[in-house]
Every structure is written in structure tokens, then in C-alpha cells.
Amino acid sequence: MITIALYASIAMVTLAALLNVYRLIQGPDAPDRVLALDTLYINAIALIILLGITLGTRMYLESALLIAVMGFVSTVATAKYLKRGSVIE
Amino acid sequence: MLDRLSFPQPWLSLILFLTWQFLSDGISGGSLVLGLVLAWGIPQLTQGFWPERPAFMKSWRMPAYLLVVLWDIVIASFSVAKLILSPRKPEPVFVCYPLQLEHPLAISILASTISLTPGTVSADISDDEKMLLIHALDARSDDEVIDAIHTRYEKPLMEMFK
């Protein structure tokens, strides 16, 4: 049962990623793209966790943690770039 | 000297210590010792980044607050999900929320809470930190939003940050 749920979950997250990419392409404004990217980061966390469950290993949890940290910093930096220009000033 | 050896941020130290125990593979002598070292060392290292001394917090109220928020998040998620999936067009509104909280950390916590809960996102905080701009996804009136936030979140927070 877990296997089926797992595949369903993976399928849904993958589909979500596709939708995010759609928004990334569509825009229309830069914040939309950043939002899409930010959401993609979160999807990636989910995917990594699901991968870990699929493989039965916890080796990838730290990768997920890192995506969370890095995705946040990346989004913040990008947002700051959009409104302020200089990210570090 | 005593200051240099103390725990400048006891709460932070506690959180770090507990986090370390979580991160380590089970609690052991090694993890306790190392956790203690880190719980002491990291606040020492980052002390400069916390300019103000810790505000007096009635922190025992925190868990209750968090539970409320957690519950609201779940509910919020369902309501947003419903809205997303329904063909109805949302009726969004920008709400200017007058803040009564003063402590910046408290304001930030409130703003975060608002973002995580039903149909609202904190979009901006005014320069004088007296006003919060909230974007509500689907709300009938401003006052409804303001009242809900004030009673459910701001009041408990004001209690905590006295």
C-alpha cells in the first residue's frame, strides 16, 4: 500500500513541479517567476524525502534540509534584488 | 569574565541543545557533551547578532499559541485548497492592520502567523511599525480580517511580550 501511495505522491509532486515550471515560463512578472522557483524548491524537498522513502534510506534528508535553507536564501536574495537592486550593500 | 562564560541567550542555548539531540543519532553521552559545548559556544559566537537583551517573554504561553496556529494552518490549507479548486473567482482585499504590538520580534511573529493562516499574507510593515499591510485572498470585509487576527493572534502575543 505504501508503495502505491508513494508512487501517487511522487506523481502528484512531479505534476506540481510541471505546473510550477509553467508559471516560471508564463510569468508574467519577475515576482511570479521567483515565486514559481521558490515553490519548485519546496517541491524538490518533497521529492527528496519521497526518494528517501522509496530507497529506504535516510541519506538524503540532509539534502532536503539544505534545499530548505538554500531555497530560502535564494528567494530572499532574488526578491531583494528585484526591489532594491543591490543584494548585499 | 563571568559574562563571557555564561549563556547569554538561555532560550537559544536550550533550543540548540535540544536540536542537537534531535540531529544526533539518539541521545548519548557524546551527544550531550557536544550539545552542551555547542549550546554554549554558538550563542557566544553569535552574540553580536542579537543586539537587544532577550525581551521578557512569558514563554509558557508559547506552546498553546503554536498549537492554535498549527491548527489554523491545517484549516487554512483546506480552505485555500477549496478556493483553488473551485471555479469561483476569489475576492481579494488589501487590509491595513493597525498594530498594537511594539517589539519588532513580536511584530515579525505576528506577521508570520498571518501569512501561515487562513487566506492572508503579510505583504508589508510600515516604516513606523504601526501598520501591517495584509493581502487577504477571499474576504468579505476588512474588519472581519482585522478582528480575527487581533483576537486570535495579536492578543496572545501581547500577553507574551509584556
Binding site: 530507497l55 529506504g56 534510506t57 541519506m59 | -
Partner: protein
């Protein structure tokens, strides 16, 4: 799966090369980054593809080739250093020439002259 992986590397290389050949520093830097992604994946693939065989002893029955992984790690870090340098060099170029053309203050490159004809 191998074909999918190969196509990914091909796409990264092609995009990287195309951008590398642009006339402005910024796309060139982006191109170099894409190229290095492709190259890193390629070097990684030289140890073959493995699923769930992370080279952490005791975590699985067999292990992926750890050596290319170590090499790629080195390559990533070096690539980062190089990218940082070239980004800054682009800034310096911009500062010195008031233009971000890769050949300095050239309002038009060799190609555009031909384009006009």
C-alpha cells in the same frame, strides 16, 4: 535511463556552448555555468549510474563508484571559484569600458557589421 541522462548532458552542453558564444559578458557567464553543470554531470557519469547505492559504507549492498563523485565535488568547488572570478572580471570590464561587451567598448561586434550589409 542512460539515454535520458545523456540527453540532459547534451542539452546542458548545447545551451552552454550557445551562450558562451554570445557577445555580452553576462550570457557568457551563464553559459559557462550551464557548461560546467553539463561537464560535472558527465564526469559523474563516468562512474556509471546507480540508484540507491550511495557510497556510504553499510548503507546499501553495493556502492556507486565514489571516485567520480569526489572528482566532481572538487570540480564543483573549483568551478565556483572560477565563476566568481569571471563574474567579477565582467564587472571590472563594465567599469573600465562602460560596456559589457566581451571585447570591451565595442558598440557593435564584427557580426553586426555584416548584418547591416
Amino acid at each position: 535511463m542512460e539515454l535520458v541522462f545523456a540527453l540532459v548532458i547534451g542539452a546542458l552542453t548545447a545551451s552552454g556552448v550557445y551562450l558562451l558564444l554570445r557577445a555580452r559578458t553576462f550570457p557568457v557567464v551563464v553559459g559557462l555555468t550551464l557548461l560546467s553543470y553539463g561537464v560535472n554531470l558527465f564526469l559523474f557519469a563516468s562512474g556509471r549510474l546507480a540508484t540507491g547505492q550511495q557510497p556510504i559504507l553499510g548503507s546499501s549492498a553495493s556502492y556507486a563508484d565514489p571516485l567520480p563523485q569526489a572528482l566532481v565535488l572538487t570540480a564543483i568547488v573549483i568551478g565556483f571559484a572560477m565563476t566568481a572570478f569571471v563574474v567579477v572580471l565582467s564587472l571590472r570590464n563594465l567599469a573600465d569600458n562602460q560596456d559589457d561587451h566581451v571585447d570591451g567598448n565595442r558598440k557593435q561586434d564584427e557580426d553586426s557589421e555584416e548584418a547591416k550589409q
